[in-house]
Structure formats: C-alpha cells, structure tokens
Symmetry: C2
Subunit: 136 residues, 2 copies
DNA sequence: CCTTTTGACTTTATTTATGAAAGGAGTGAA
DNA sequence: TTCACTCCTTTCATAAATAAAGTCAAAAGG
C-alpha cells in the first residue's frame, strides 16, 4: 500500500510542505509528474490530511503553553464542553482520554493573569490538574 | 507589528499552506507579490516556523495515541532521556513540564502489544501514568 | 507650503513550475 | 507471445512565482 518512496515523500513534506513537485521529485529520485501523482494518491487515500504551517505562538503573544487534565464530577460533560467552546482563543487541542481524567486540554495563554482567570472559570465546570510546559 | 491582514494570512496558511500566492492574495485582498512579501516577512521574523503536513497516523498503522506522564525517581533524567531517543518511531512530542510529573510524553503505537512492550522498557527508567486518547 | 523620504502596494515582464497527454518499460496472467 | 496494467518519463501549453520598475499616500524637514 505504502512503499518506501511514499514514506520518503511524507518525511520531506513534513519537513517542508511548500517544496515544488520538481524539488520533491529530486529528493526522492522521481520526476515532477511522477511525484505529483503519488502525492495526489496520498491525498485521496487520506494519508495526507492537509497542509499547514507551524506558528510560533510566543511571537503571537501566547508565551504560556499548558496541559490541563480535566476531571468532571458529573457524568454529564456538556457544561465543560460548552464552556471551552467559548474559550477558543486559548485552545490548542481537547483530547478525550481514558486514564487519569476525562479530558486532556492543551491550551496557550498570553499571561498568568489570563491563565488564572481561565482556571477560575473552568473550575465552575470541572476539576483540573495543571501542567505548564517548560520545554519541548 | 502584526496587523489584521497578517493574521488572516496565518489563518489561511494554517488551513492550507499550499495555496498559491495568487490564491492567498485573493483571500486577503492583495496581489501575489504583495502577499508574497508579507509571507517572507513572517518567515524572517520567525512567526512562521515552517510548512508541514497533517498525516493520518492511523492510516500509517499507528492506531493508538497516548499521553504518558513521566515521573522519574532520580534527579538525573539522563536514563529516561537516553531511552526515549531509542524509541523515535513511537514518539510525537516530549514536553518537560512543571506540575504532576517531570515530562509529558506524547506517543503513537500500532498495537497494544507494542505499547505494552514500550511501557515495560520505560518502567526501567521512570514511573509513568498512561492516558489513551479516545477522541480529539 | 512644497519637497523629500519611506513604506507598502501594483503592474509588467521574465523565469520557473504545474499538469495534461502521449509514449515506453517492466510485470503478471492467459 | 500477447494483452492488460501500473508506473514512470518526456513534451508542451498554461499558470504561478519573482525581480524590477513605477504608483501612491503618509510623515518629516526645510
């Protein structure tokens, strides 16, 4: 289904998704049209879900990166889920998990003040454990 | 420093980083060369860190997505850090965190067997708490 | 008030990449 | 052998990127 060349293509596009088909072709030893056809297949089959950029959140003013383990008391999660929908500017990911907690919420904040305010509001909907990312 | 148009550019490129400069220009009401110059600025200033793809890990055979909270007993983390360097195929991210644990390790696995084997080996270097992602 | 400078943009023209079409090499099945 | 199939290359028309020159408006200085 996926041969070595396809994996090379995924590696190269992960590193730089704005390569031209010609450049990508040179890296994996194919011509432009050939590599273009393979990329189209990878898109159609859903292996490549999309093309995106890595944004430096700190330079956008979001210096604080956190993971918040959510423990909801009630069996109804709707209160928590509705709340985070109103907090999109802070959200990176919300994972439903099994294990120690119901959700793992990945967030970014510009300042401790805003983090603190967020946690205060969050606490009305769920308990939490906070982890702050020091280094990636 | 970063005006509304720059933010629009970041949004559009986050959604699809393979837009042509012409298409991107149309979306933000600029010509190709104008938007190209802005993107170059965003790259030079480090706001755009890179261009990448979203890969469907499940379709690559990695169906299991986990977060593992690492608690190292000793004050020397080297044993753990050396270990994970040998496990690159499973690794997505390793965050050094403050809070409940020393590291938060994001991993992917093809099967419970390999996850189990990984945990067994991990346990020689650190204690852990496992969370498995059910939904994103 | 006029002139100059600056920055961000558009226009134009050249270079370069894309993508469709045709053709060839290798593989497996009848 | 022959056919069908897949995957590739080559070629070429079209489209995009990029460099250079020109436009315009706002700010600074005489």
């Amino acid at each position: 289904m996926l041969d070595h060349t396809d994996k090379r293509i995924l590696e190269e596009l992960s590193r730089n998704s704005r390569l031209t088909m010609k450049e990508l072709g040179e890296k994996v030893h194919l011509t432009g049209p050939a590599v273009s056809a393979r990329v189209a297949k990878l898109e159609d089959s859903g292996v490549i879900e999309g093309y995106t950029i890595k944004v430096n959140q700190a330079k956008l003013g979001y210096a604080i990166h956190t993971f918040i383990t959510i423990i909801t008391e009630s069996i109804f999660h709707q209160s928590y889920l509705s709340f985070i929908k109103t907090q999109e500017r802070y959200l990176i990911n919300n994972y439903k998990i099994s294990g120690d907690g119901c959700y793992l919420l990945e967030c970014k904040f510009p300042s401790n003040e805003e983090l603190n305010e967020f946690l205060k509001e969050l606490n009305e909907h769920a308990n939490y454990k906070l982890s702050i990312v020091i280094e990636k």
